[in-house]
């Protein structure tokens, strides 16, 4: 058994008070979970601490929460690991996870004095933690991008489930069902089983940076669900689904590729990968969406291949009027978009983010020096030669498998040697 201090962001809606932080001391095995620590508090100390939970084994998806700022499941995060993480954060930054998390309280501005008070109090403690290696508190908060109902309970209906229903989440086969089963490629079923493995916990939604910027973004969980139908050979409305998701300004092209959802997902669903699959399929369908999402993506690929680094001004042009080479024919919309981006460019210059003014002129952007460009080309070549879907249910973890193969080869070799020795 070991002692831990957990710091929980609480909100008791009937108290008339705003959100506040509360610390609890708990005593449990390091291999037990953060959820176990909350249940210990609930059972022994404060039954009003609200947290959804059921299976305790990362199957039901109830206990999505943020632990030290990272979205995940309370039941799947070991308290010992959460402690190490909290300590590391404190040591690395001189700031405890507790402090780092405080600004989130700014969501409720009327309570900012409370949060500030807590933050100041922590600031001192945090520095001590960093220098004397006193354990930093493990910070537990409700999921992000969702209204908080009570303590760690969020309103998933208004955020996650509404969007989930938006993607028509049921199979749409055409015609009569066959007498027996549909005959389909076995790999196709394994392929969409990765999406089926989603337990709707909301951790990806909580972590989604695009959704933070655009609350209307359909989001990683709902789009992963959409792939489950797009990738299903039994579904007859693949094209309609892809058009719908590509044309929606909050659809598949609203994802910014930040990988947060992949990190957060407790079931290795890799929602972003599913979104990229949707994009690829939309591209294969030749869907030129009105958001220019597809051409924007292609522009990225083309420019990096050509120059090795991103030419922002070229990107804009290429995205809205692909195929320059002296034949620039921007559509009315492209002109509008390019003019519309001028304030962004000015802001970039003012803030020092855009340092090289010539970069604003399309075509001026330089290539990578020397052999670096060849390396980029080699990456492209490798990607083209390995143009296959990566799916956990089919292949397991990539690194893990490579390791296993190496190990098997070694064992075989050792076995062969042993045989040889035995026969000689």
């Amino acid at each position: 058994m070991a002692d831990y201090k957990i710091k929980v962001r609480r909100f008791q809606p009937e108290s008339g008070e705003g959100p506040y932080w509360e610390e609890f001391n708990v005593d449990l095995e390091p291999s037990l979970s953060v959820l176990d620590s909350l249940l210990q508090v609930k059972d022994g100390e404060d039954g009003s601490l609200a947290v959804r939970c059921s299976c305790r084994a990362a199957i039901c998806g109830s206990c999505g929460m943020k632990i030290n700022g990272q979205s995940g499941l309370g039941c799947k995060t070991q308290i010992g690991e959460a402690q190490e993480q909290a300590n590391k954060m404190a040591a690395a930054t001189g700031v405890t996870a507790a402090e780092a998390s405080s600004p989130i309280g700014a969501q409720a501005p009327e309570q900012s004095h409370l949060v500030r008070a807590a933050g100041q109090e922590e600031a001192g403690a945090g520095r001590t933690a960093a220098t004397t290696e006193v354990a930093a508190p493990i910070v537990i908060e409700p999921m992000g991008n969702m209204p908080v109902v009570k303590d760690l309970i969020t309103d998933m209906e208004s955020t996650h489930w509404t969007k989930f229903r938006r993607v028509t989440p049921w199979l749409l086969p055409h015609g009569e069902a066959p007498e027996r089963e549909y005959i389909v490629d076995p790999e196709s079923m394994l392929d969409i089983t990765q999406s089926m493995a989603c337990i709707q916990c909301g951790a990806c939604v909580s972590s989604c940076l695009s959704m933070e910027a655009d609350p209307d973004f359909i989001g990683p969980a709902a789009l992963a669900k959409a792939y489950r139908f797009v990738g299903d050979p039994r579904d007859a409305e693949t094209k309609e689904r892809l058009h719908d998701l590509a044309e929606d300004p909050h659809g598949i092209y609203d994802c910014t590729h930040c990988f947060s959802c992949i990190d957060a997902c407790p079931k290795d669903v890799a929602p972003m990968d599913q979104i990229m699959r949707l994009r690829r399929k939309a591209g294969e369908e030749g869907i030129e969406d009105s958001n220019s999402g597809h051409s924007h993506e292609m522009a990225f690929v083309k420019i990096i291949e050509k120059k090795g680094t991103l030419d922002e001004s070229g990107l804009l042009q290429e995205s809205f009027a692909p195929g320059i080479k002296g034949k620039l024919k921007p559509s009315k919309r492209a002109i509008k978009e390019m003019l519309g981006s001028i304030p962004t460019a000015i802001r970039g210059i003012k803030t020092g983010k855009m340092r090289s003014l010539p970069k604003l002129i399309p075509g001026v952007h330089h290539k990578l020096p020397g052999g670096a460009q060849d390396d980029v080309k080699a990456i492209y070549k490798h990607a083209e030669e390995h143009n296959e879907e990566f799916n956990l249910y089919i292949k397991g973890d990539e690194g893990e498998l490579a390791e296993l193969e190496a190990e098997d080869a070694f064992e075989e070799k050792a076995g062969a040697q042993a045989n040889e020795e035995a026969s000689s």
Binding site: A57, C60, R165, L171, E181, Y393
Partner: protein, 562 residues
Amino acid sequence: MPTHDVLVIGAGLAGQRAALAAAEEGVSVGIISKVHPVRSHSNAAQGGINAALNPGDSWESHAFDTIKGSDYLGDQDAIEIMTREAPEEILHLEHLGVTFHRNEEGKLGTRAFGGASAARTYYVADITGQAIMHVLYEQLMKYSEQIARYEEWFSTALAIDENGECCGVVTRNVADGSMELFEAKSVILACGGNGQVWKPTTNALICTGDGIAMAYRVGAKLMDMEMIQYHPTTLAGKGFLITEGARGEGAHLLNAKGERFMETYAPNKMELASRDVVSRAEQTEINEGRGFPDGTVALDITVVPKKRVHEALREIVLVGRDFAGVDITREPIHIKPGNHYTMGGVKTDVDGRTDIPGLYSAGETACVSVHGGNRLGANSLLDTLIFGRRSGADAAARAKRIEGSKPSRKVLEDEDAMIADINSRANGSGRRVSEIKLELGQTMDAKVAVFRDEAGIQEALEVVQRLKEEAKSAYIDDHGSIFNQDLLGAIELGYMLDNAECTCVAALERKESRGAQYRTDFPERNDDEWLKHIDLEQTDDGPEISYSEVTITQWEPEARTY
């Protein structure tokens, strides 16, 4: 007052399947669940679902395996219906979109499972329950005009009219604490099992026997309550489940000496004997000192090809890694028998009808009985779907047939009073609810588990009766309306204690060893005296015992070896 023709309580596989079947009949349906439907415990069914669908397999073979598995306590008419209708149900699910594993020809593929004479388990990796349940939930969303969903509504009592027919239910909206009296012509209880009565258990925290207790309290009979399955492969301490699919894929059980001990207990079926047989074998090894110091034996999955493990047992790779710190592809994992499944429950006929007109039950809450003394792996999902569907259809037919009656407000007032009483108990006036739950769980796991005897069961019963008294003054901290989980926990404790009392009484009564009930003081099966069901009915003096016949169609009881 919200009114529906058919009201389903519980939204796991049985409840969702019942709701869809009722909606198909064109009646209005409401489905109530204390958690969001996809959080239901059907999720945890990893391994698969049985059906004799392969050429060369037959429903008779599936039925016989099930009957033998049940140690001849299963009702053979019900088992016949379940196994005959299984293939059609699998195809129905496949057509709805379940991503069942395919063989190389692209057809449905199977895996081997315990107690079965053929590989007839259909599966989706090791997330079969989850995959099926999410697909049914897709259908609930699709038919949302006919099926109203009440997600996070906690049911506290059934309403019975003056003719003794069920006409509604009192339910608390968890989000705001409001109490509603729902009216319905038919009510289906599909609330899952009672695993939380034991600690540890593979079951989720929500599995508190709500449906069984609610039915019992309005006078419905319970049956086979002594039959509690201990699953052979659960993680020590936490009770997490390692699917039987692991043994289906070829994993071995080893004692601390490295011996594959099942050779002694089930030389033919080895690790794939019935669960009660394997659990007893493991417990015997542990009790006789051939286990590991932590009171376990080992499950060796390293003998299964690695690619196959990643493809078909991925979930338990994660369970091993995240909850036991073991890479199951490289080293054996320590396991022990753990509480897993409630074979008994609310006594129903093959259409889910209980003794109370208008009240139905399906899934783990119900006892049809298709599992008898011991459930075969991958028959539970099948049970939920077949009898969920049949209950839904019959409940809808009844709703079309009858006028229905308005439930009396009295039941709502009683429930308001019950909640006011819990809220009125001062902090520190009695024990904490959580303390009572812990004592209950540990007592049941010690005394009413794999091996039982009269003294132990009697002791457990006395503890349960004392805890029932203590529960009357147990206090809670939260007195609010919004998401008051503390209050719900106190109500659940009452459900759990009713379940526990019934299990103890039935286990004490059955003076023989059959299926999951192994009495060290009566170690033999005794067909002359005990080839019968034990039924229980609530009275002021506790459960009253009666008996009912086991239906035998074509399979006479035989000695049971694997």
